[in-house]
């Protein structure tokens, strides 16, 4: 029969021995396995960013160009909020 304090004292007893050299080599192995994955993730993130930038700059350029046709919008004088009266296409 042991008391509460005796139980705590049992927990304070020295731990079972460990093979620190073997554990270190396993840790180093895991570190080297994680590095390529981190590089791969970084390269992926950079690629996504570049694609996003390219899409961002390419999209307005496409919108502005419509072959050789220039398009003008005609609104009621002094009112851009008013109804569109006509539009003129010019070569």
């Amino acid at each position: 029969m042991i008391s509460y304090n005796e139980f705590l004292n049992e927990l304070k007893e020295p731990a079972a021995p460990a093979d620190y050299d073997r554990l270190l080599s396993q840790i180093e192995q895991k570190v080297s396995q994680r590095r390529p994955r981190a590089r791969f993730l970084l390269a992926g993130a950079v690629a996504v960013l570049l694609l996003a930038f390219a899409a961002y700059f390419y999209y307005p350029a496409q919108q502005a160009s419509n072959g050789d046709i220039l398009m003008s919008y005609v609104f009621e004088q002094e009112s851009l909020d008013g109804p569109l009266l006509a539009y003129v296409l010019e070569d």
């Binding site: 029969m1 042991i2 008391s3 509460y4 139980f7 705590l8 049992e10 927990l11 304070k12 020295p14 731990a15 079972a16 460990a18 620190y20 554990l23 270190l24 396993q26 840790i27 895991k30 570190v31 994680r34």
Partner: protein
Amino acid sequence: MGQLEFNQVYAGHNKTVWRLISRYVSSQHDREDLFQEVFLRIHRALPKFRADSSLSTWIYRITVNTSLNFLKKQKRHAGLKDLLGSFRLIEVEEQSETQEPDKTFEPLQKLNPQQRMLLIMAEVEERKISEISEILNLPVGTVKSNLSRAREILKKELKDNDIL
């Protein structure tokens, strides 16, 4: 810090970390897993280490928090394993010698991971309540009430099993 410095940290603190985690988890296999997880975190965080606190305090904090997460994860897995085992969806494996838990820890099984950590930090490592509160990022009142509950549960467990 580079690889050489990690090796220095490892050489200087491996015994302390092992001693700490041996109190938190019961089987040798789990201790080795947790030990590696602690040093992997130290390896990752070492370049960001600022000398605001001492290196040993910083390592202690990482060890405690990694151990608490480990115990929580272990409890979730055990619950899931029991559930799947009860439906015979998985075979319950025989425990090998290295997986066999240390019998000293049996009464602690009744405590949840947080109560277990609090009890060991306060009663075995003899840390102050304010220190535990800061390390685990918990209010002082929560630490006190959970610790008191943990003591009650443990005493009851020792008595019910005719150990006390």
